[in-house]
Amino acid sequence: MPLLGNFCLLFALALAIYCFVVGVIAAVSKNAVGYRLAETARRAGMASFVAVLLAAVALVYSALTDDFSVAYILHHSNRALPAPYKFAVLWSGQEGSMLFWALLLSCYGFVLRLRHKVDQRLVAMASMVLAGIQVFFLILVNFVAKPFGMMDRVVADGNGLNPLLQYPEMVIHPPMLYLGYVGVSVPFAFALAALIMRYPGEKWIHLTRKWTMIAWCFQSVGILLGAHWAYAVLGWGGYWGWDPVENASLLPWLSGTAFLHSVMMQEKRGMMKVWNIWLIFITFMLSILGTLLTRAGLVSSVHAFAQSSIGPWFTTLLGVVFAVCLIFYIKNRDHLKAENKLESLVSRESSFLFNNLVLLGACFAVLCGTLFPILSEAVRGVKMNLGAPFYNKVMIPIGLFLIFLTGVGPLLAWRSTSYGSIKRNFAIPATVSFTVMVTLMVVWYRSGIRFWTDLNQIYALLSFTLGTLVTATIASEFIRGGRVLQNKLQTNLLAGVYLLMRRNMRRYGGYVVHFGVVLVIIGLAGTAFNKDQEKELGVADSMQIGHYELRNQEYTQDDNANYRSEAALLDVYKDGKYLTRLNPEERWFKASGGQPVHIVANYSTLVEDLYVIYEGSPNGHPFIKALVNPLVNWIWIGVLVIIFGTGMALVPNAAPVTAQVPKAVAVSAMEKQGMRAAGVSE
């Protein structure tokens, strides 16, 4: 199998090089021979996917059959590892994850090349760009980070998978993230291809819209699954620690979100062409930069990424990509002139501009914070890592302003919005959100929460208020549009709203995504009210946290082939009433030299989570840390809503219902105006 894997990788590299080189030749020669060459390049590109897929299958097979003659399998697997985690070995180490990246890239390329008939010239050029990226990753897996490197001696068992990765979500979280980041390559390839070809119009945007949205959705889900994994596995009670690896995943997401918004300006008004091209270039480069930061050991992270020699390769890729983008931009920038001008500051266009400013400002702030240790080391000789307090101070106000724009933007019309329209559109959402704010202030005051003494609680109040503003805005958009159709088609409001959505799935899907973001924000705002308590509990001892009482019934020990464990059995009472039993646990994985992992016990409701950690038993009794984390579940629900909204936005629109006009009348009316009858739609 390792031999087959190696051969497939080499073959895939040869095919990708052919696809790239012949693609360039075909692009230069614009005759029939060029067309035929482009077709062979396309087929070579598609075949490269099959070759990389076979290599990936060979690696997974080696993991499943415990082939420890392969160094990668030896370092990342062991005999006792459950089968699903053996499958996850494919992306749990450096070499495997590079192969996985190459696999996803060639898979995206395969689908793109398969659908070449949508626009053969543009797809051929995009395929050539994609092949260039494929060549880079295939060189890496063939010569630098080899997944099929062989051991020079036979070893009975492997070192095992990192215990922190032995969690069900780790089987899906990395593929989601990779699908997102690799997915950005497709719109990048189309954008660069369109720029190189001076491709007229906005067709490349229409063609890549679905790709961009799918990639963005995968990124969002991947990031939030990672947050959920951190919450469930790392056992510190939080889900986001502003670690460099987390930041690296957030950077392209922020610029990608900015792109998804600003691209609408180009589609609808022919504006911001330069901006959009550079946004997608930057998004692609940020996904490469993230990989460089975390894998080259430039910044330290709690995540288990080894320092390696692939850093210079990624630096080179980044440099080459930037140079190519810059050269073609300078050469063809006259092609990117805006078709329209901004007619009013109070318009949807302006709101998109500010939305982009805030998103990119947030991206820049995260980038500064992530790169600060490098700067600090260069200037002071000490790597000073910036932690959550810095990011929270910088990012929360930016985030709040962004939610405000999310609430205001949809109420502004394209081109210009009149004062009367603002007044009419804002009255209800503003009143509702103001009422919610005042109500919250009163309720909190009455329940003893002195929110004005804690900045986090003030931020929480603002988050709830602005979240309500966004929700009210979205609701008013649905209801207003639904009412128009209700009156026009003589139907009920619900049917009106449904028809409204079906007519413009992208717009209303986008609103649903915004609502999902509001739910995530509500979940995040709950952090301001977290409580925690720590206690050593002997048998029959108890501890109190909030409304909950935890009584230690007993504690147990277990030993199996994969790990040794200790757990406490805690009965949970709420206001004196029995609720459930929780078993927080600590595991020591044998293959990893006894590295401890906390298995958190979580009693989760929509209101709050009772999150219990077994911290160890230094004196023979379990040391228990309990946290009450309000509203956390809304984050995960928000993710589901975001997925649903993105799915909605990807569904094609239904044809609009039009009023029937007798043909004779229409033709006669048009003839009177000197118009051609051919313009009448039947």
Binding site: N340, M437, T453, G674
Partner: protein, 153 residues
Amino acid sequence: MKRLMRILVLPFALVLLMGADNQEARYQNIGGKIMCTCGCAQMLLKCNHVGCPNSAQMIKELRTNVNQTSNDEEVLNWFRKNWGITAVVEPSTHGFELLAWLLPIAGMGIGLLLVLLVIRSWRLRPATVAAGDMNLAPELEAMRDRARRETEI
């Protein structure tokens, strides 16, 4: 409208201007800016590493400092001096570390300036007329298309 804006802005301003501190909140707040130095890569108050050689000592020192010193920055400086500058993960507001605070603000400021310049140039630029024949029907058709796109109906 102005009245509505005032009603909306006033409570936000009041809420933001308010801010009293008590010792427990200060302890939590400052503790959230200090990292446990045992190598667990966790914040001091979140360190769940039983038998940690440093966190108990650091937490004790934090309590003492919070009670003795009214200035939060002084407490953080004490930790920088005694546990190394990497123990505090929030940059200070002077010297080289000030740069960490200034960079995002400068970035946003330059971005805002650029946006305003872009808006200005757009407003001054005349709209481009699309090329093509000037027959009434295609033009009307184009206008219709534009109206459809821009009104999204």
